[in-house]
């Protein structure tokens, strides 16, 4: 074993200042294992040392929030004595190195964050960003990630009901895999991680520990270089079958009164789970590693403490319930081992083969963890886009847009995900703006979505952060559900670069403003920094996962239109083409300011639309986002296999700006009585416009050619199957 000194500390990811702090806390040179523990606990991934000062500024409270950030996942009250427990988490770095296992274990990890709190997982979603589709590596990564998400989620029997995918060359070397799980628990049966009860046994449950994933959290805290593929051994390997057993075993054990505290072993494995449980409880913890179930021989204390082997949980139990707990765990063929006890020392003491391998005071390990106010340079706000000329016309532009990688049908992807297991999926992928999952045995449902528009964030991170939150809110609103809370997954480049920290700070500022204006608090989240390869950063990507509730599931509204309906556009259209997909796909430019996010308009327009849906007046509803009005209408037509006859664009706008502008706070409603909606909108001061009606089998623009649904469908469905043919 190498000697412990500053060089070793640096190779573990600690800088000189941080190592000096370790020496000060310990009052001596730490052991090899102790240095390993400090380095993972103080890694960016575990300590949030660059992001914490900013995350603290986000709104996190509302009357329906039961537990905000700081627990394994956020918890909100959704009525009828039920809580929704949810979080989104990244697995970006592993997914580039080993796409299948990286994505699979990302799903496994976020599932554990949710069921460790007592929730049965009822839905998985994801938010994925990939590089240029023209590159062979992108195809390999997409294939592996999709197979990995499906391979894990399908096997554990949690439906994958939604998600989003973007492509951009900025993700060539750093794809993003953000996975979200939503679970349900009784509000009075929520389990936390704070250890308590001096002398209580510390119990290890789940898979055996191997040498996989050692220093995974540290890997996730550095940039990539040309040799990153050599880091494959730091990637974990998932076993969804064991995860399924772990879910059932934990939920069965949670029906008893045996558990004092419970925490999954995620990033930094046994180290972070034991340190966090004891630290939160203000107690000490003693571990005897000889008792840890091991699948390899000759493992050292360092290896066991830093392993990120998957499908493991750490529990503090009531001693008199230990035998009963063992019977339940062993019924599910899982390992059960008492590996330590809770103490009153305030220290973590780790013994292996009779030798004390680590003895660290817990309070300074967390309280004196590095906290950086990193320097910031704000990205200058881009000028508004100047007026554009349309070189191709409506039909060519629409066919090109709906077939481009960012807008093409995702069917090829979601057809590989089991979206119906559980029997409660009311709206499957692409049927509505948010997935709708009924709560079994009730008349209630959750609406769930993930959203972010990274190209907006790159141009103006503050507007982009606000837009991501607003779009998630809008997508939930468009189903008729009341948006309740969000989880955020902040994916950015190297925080030591002031430009990157500037993006981060601005995005948080925009998100915070939107969360406040929309009563949409952040209840959980995750930060992934250092998403750079050879010095090139990803687009700033603050992915938002959001949850809303529908009190009457029968009112859940999708995007599919039917013949004999009238179409009404809600919200103001100025024809904003800055950073639009039309601009990128037709003019080949990524220019201008992103569309303005007016949070007051968002709120008013959305509340109006939701009220109309809940009154039963709306047959279909779709929010407007990428590609604007024409793309949204095409998606509604294809979903309902019904044509549309459109009124011409209003004369005060260039036609292409009207059809493809990405102005925010807008919805298309399909109704049978447009007069009522227009009157109600007028009375409420909401911009509303009758734009056409449904019927036939083509998209017809007055004064222009009809485009058949068949050709629209071919264009929309073509990209992925052709790519993977």
């Amino acid at each position: 074993m190498k000697p412990v000194n500053i060089e070793l500390a640096k190779s573990f990811g600690l800088n000189a200042e941080e190592y000096a702090k370790v020496l000060e806390i310990m009052g001596r040179t730490p052991s090899f294992t102790e240095l390993g523990i400090f380095s993972v606990m103080w890694s960016e991934h575990c300590s949030y040392k660059s992001s914490r000062v900013w995350l603290k500024t986000l709104p996190t409270k509302a009357p329906w929030v039961i537990h905000g950030p700081g627990e394994n996942a956020g918890v909100i009250d959704i009525g009828e004595g039920l809580a929704a427990i949810f979080k989104m988490e990244s697995h970006n770095h592993p997914s580039f190195i080993e796409p299948y296992q990286g994505a699979a274990t990302g799903v496994g990890g976020i599932l554990r964050d949710v069921f460790t709190m007592g929730a049965r997982p009822i839905a998985n979603l994801n938010a994925l960003r990939f590089g240029d589709p023209k590159l062979p590596v992108t195809k390999r990564v997409v294939d592996g990630v999709v197979r990995g998400i499906g391979g894990y989620g399908n096997c554990v029997g949690v439906p994958t009901v939604g998600g989003e995918v973007n492509f951009h060359p900025a993700y060539n070397g750093n794809p993003l895999v953000n996975a979200m799980t939503v679970g349900i628990a009784a509000t009075d049966k929520i389990f936390l991680s704070a250890a308590a009860g001096i002398g209580n046994p510390v119990v290890y449950v789940g898979s055996k520990t191997g040498r996989d994933g050692i220093h995974g959290a540290t890997m996730a805290s550095t940039e990539f270089d040309a040799n990153s593929a050599e880091k494959r051994p730091t990637v974990q390997v998932g076993d969804p079958f064991t995860e399924k057993l772990l879910i059932e075993a934990c939920l069965e054990l949670m029906q008893t009164d045996a558990i004092v505290a419970i925490q999954d072993m995620g990033a930094a494995g046994l180290t972070s789970s034991s340190v966090e449980m004891a630290g939160k409880g203000g107690v000490g913890i003693e571990l005897t590693l000889d008792n840890v179930p091991q699948r390899e021989t000759g493992m050292t204390a360092y290896e066991m403490m830093l392993s990120e082997s998957q499908e493991r949980m750490l529990l503090v139990l009531k001693p008199e319930r230990s035998d009963m707990a063992r019977a339940i765990i062993e019924k599910w063929d899982l390992d059960y081992a008492i590996i330590g006890k809770i103490t009153d020392t305030g220290r973590i003491v780790i013994t292996h083969k009779g030798v004390v391998e680590a003895d660290i005071p817990l309070a300074p390990l967390s309280d004196e963890a590095p906290l950086y106010h990193r320097p910031i340079i704000e990205t200058p706000k881009p000028a508004r886009l100047r007026e554009t000329h349309d070189p191709v016309g409506f039909e060519v532009a629409l066919l090109k847009l709906i077939g481009c990688p960012d807008l093409a049908s995702r069917r090829w992807i979601f057809d590989q995900y089991d979206s119906t297991v559980g029997g409660q999926t009311v709206k499957r992928p692409a049927q509505a703006d948010a997935a709708i999952v009924r709560l079994e045995g009730t008349n209630r449902a959750l609406a769930i979505t993930t959203d972010c528009t990274p190209r907006y964030c790159a141009a103006d991170a503050e507007a982009g952060g606000a837009q991501a939150v607003a779009e998630a809110w809008r997508n939930i609103t468009a189903t008729g559900a009341v948006p309740l809370a969000v989880t955020d997954n902040m994916n950015f480049g190297n925080p030591e670069k002031p430009e990157i920290m500037g993006q981060f700070a601005a995005a948080i500022k925009g998100m915070g403003a939107a969360c406040l204006a929309l009563d949409f608090p952040v209840v959980s989240g995750n930060v992934s920094l250092y998403n750079e390869t050879e010095g090139k950063a990803i687009l700033p990507t603050p992915a938002i996962g959001a949850v809303g509730v529908l009190a009457d599931v029968s009112l859940a509204t999708g995007i599919a239109i039917a013949p004999g309906q009238e179409l009404v556009l809600i919200g103001e259209t100025k024809g904003e083409l800055g950073q639009s997909l039309w601009l990128r796909e037709i003019l080949g430019a990524e220019d201008g300011a992103p569309p303005e996010v007016n949070l007051l308009n968002e709120r008013e327009n959305g509340d109006f639309v939701r009220a109309q849906i809940l009154s039963g007046a709306v047959k279909a509803c779709h929010d407007l986002s990428d590609g604007g009005l024409a793309v949204a209408l095409t998606e509604m037509a294809l979903a309902g296999d019904t044509g549309i006859i459109l009124h011409p664009a209003p004369p005060h706008l260039p036609a292409h700006a009207y059809w493809f502008g990405e102005d925010q706070a807008r919805y298309v409603l399909a109704v049978t009585n447009p007069h009522d909606i227009l009157t109600a909108a007028h009375a409420a001061g909401i911009p509303a416009r009758h734009i056409g009606h449904t019927g036939g089998n083509s998209l017809t623009l007055a004064g222009s050619n009809s485009i058949s649904l068949a050709s629209l469908r071919d264009a929309n469905e073509g990209f992925f199957p052709a790519w993977f043919a």
Partner: protein
Amino acid sequence: MLQTGILLFPGINRERDMAIAVEQSFGRAPKMIWHKETDLSGIDLVIIPGGFSFGDYLRCGAMAAQSPVMQAVKAHAARGGYVLGVCNGFQILTEAGLLPGALLRNAGLRFLSMDTMLRVERNDTIFTSHYQKGQVFRAPMAHGDGNYTADPATLDRLEGEGLVAFRYADGNRNGSARDIAGIYSENRRILGLMPHPEDLVDPLMGGIDGKPLFDSLAAA
């Protein structure tokens, strides 16, 4: 009314869906039976639901077929008892030798999750009495290994003796021989099929195309 039991193997994940569908048609909940139990007395209809029993490691259904409860299922079948196996349940029945043939990896080598259309080959069995012969109904499918195969003589016999229960009617996505989606045992008291009628028994979930199968059983 048939007394119904749903088998629980580690890794099974559609047992709730199945229990909901059964309860809706039968008016009472089925009994849930752990795979280590060996007594099926009092059970008329054994249902093996979908999922990934034992992680589908080794081969889909291979390990579950060796579970203690499967000895009891074989005895139940030998007595002329009713058995329904869906998806992983179908795979387990073929591995246990209660139905002929095998389910291979999908022809396209990808998991397939979408609605498919099934044609009812005959409606004079206890599983299909509430369908019309030749009726085409919708059912979600969700499997990686649904490619039904058997030797030509077995396939000829299945077709000749009217033991094909359902065929894919809207394209054969998984490569199954002769579009077969489900088959009966010789006495037509055991049915195995890949798609999931139990996931389409409620208008809220998009339809009730699967409900007649459970109504048929409830009326038996």
